[in-house]
Symmetry: C2
Subunit: 182 residues, 2 copies
DNA sequence: TGCCAAACGGAGAGTGTCTCCGTATAGTTC
DNA sequence: GAACTATACGGAGACACTCTCCGTTTGGCA
């Protein structure tokens, strides 16, 4: 890639990250990103053919934090319930870090054609590792995709309604108790 | 209201209901509704100043079914768990009856300025009646708004991903067990 | 320095929401 | 049943947004 192209690409992602985080996916227009990055719309679309692909690039670095969080929860010297709650809370917090991200990623779960498919796989795999780690403490038959959807749904609601952390925590506690073996 | 205006209004709502149900909120354009109802865009917007207000009118009749469903669940001669599951399943099914409705209504929970505020109140009240009816079988301190958000979130996920009923049921079972007293 | 593939950027096509305002008509009054 | 007026109609178009085409510019190499 030519140096000017690389510079422009970096600046676009940087501007887009700030805008998406502040205003949410829908409220940011591509023109706005182009103007902010001081490029023409044509240039923006050369780098990112769709708005989704731009969003995907913005979320790139961020997906790696998920695996770190599941490791952290599993390494805690605590009860299975506390480990589970720690993970769910971290997970929901990461999902709501960007406004609108939770709903978008959760909607893409199980859709291989989605531009966020890679991110979804990361999430589902993290939940699978959690299930393997917590082993028999969980309700028999619980699946990684179920946890992904349950927490993704909660995160989306929390994000949309801008719920305070304690409201999210109490809902996650309900989900966690439901996930633990009876 | 003049007779021709009433006729047009009725036809608009009827056409919009069919379109929204089939294609979901976002995929239906106002022009499409206007053409289907054989009126001009101006006429459509005279009756419904925003797309949301049209959606609200479409959902009008449908909100009444919620109270009937909670009565049905509470009158069942069954365990608290079965009553709860019956209600949650009905509730989620009603939310997903119109594509996109669950996410939209759940997002409006707790926002008095939303065009769907009246529908939200109906849902939260129904859950409150459930809590009162099930009494001590539920986890102490559980609130109607929490149940509304939990199930609304699940319904939104189910709706978005077009999940089969059994997938929804297994997630609702987890939520239900979390809601029941430990 | 000159070349040219790569990149740029703006005009504009296509689609959507919503408005303005001249025209048509329902319903009343004589 | 004719005239009148408040009410409603409907289409042209303003405005915003995503995305494309293509003439122009420029980075990097020989």
């Amino acid at each position: 890639m030519r140096a000017d192209a690389q510079r422009n690409r970096d600046r676009i992602v940087e501007v887009a990250r700030a805008l998406f985080r502040a205003k949410g996916f829908d409220a940011v227009s591509m023109d706005e990103v182009a103007k902010g990055a001081e490029v023409g719309p044509g240039t923006l679309y050369r780098h990112f053919p769709t708005k989704e692909s731009l969003y995907d690039a913005v979320l790139e670095a961020w997906a790696e934090k998920v695996n770190a969080a599941v490791d952290r929860a599993l390494s805690l010297d605590a009860s299975a319930r506390e480990q589970l709650l720690t993970w769910l809370t971290d997970y929901a917090a990461m999902l709501t870090e960007h406004k609108g991200a939770a709903a978008r990623i959760t909607a893409a779960l199980g859709d291989p054609g989605s531009p966020f498919a890679a991110k979804c796989t990361t999430y589902v795999n993290a939940n699978q590792r959690l299930i393997d780690g917590l082993d028999s403490a969980l309700r028999p038959g619980v699946e990684a995709m179920q946890i992904s959807r349950l927490v993704g749904g909660m995160a989306a609601v929390a994000d949309n309604s801008e719920l305070p952390a304690e409201s999210v925590a109490s809902m996650l506690a309900i989900v966690a108790d439901g996930l633990l073996a009876p």
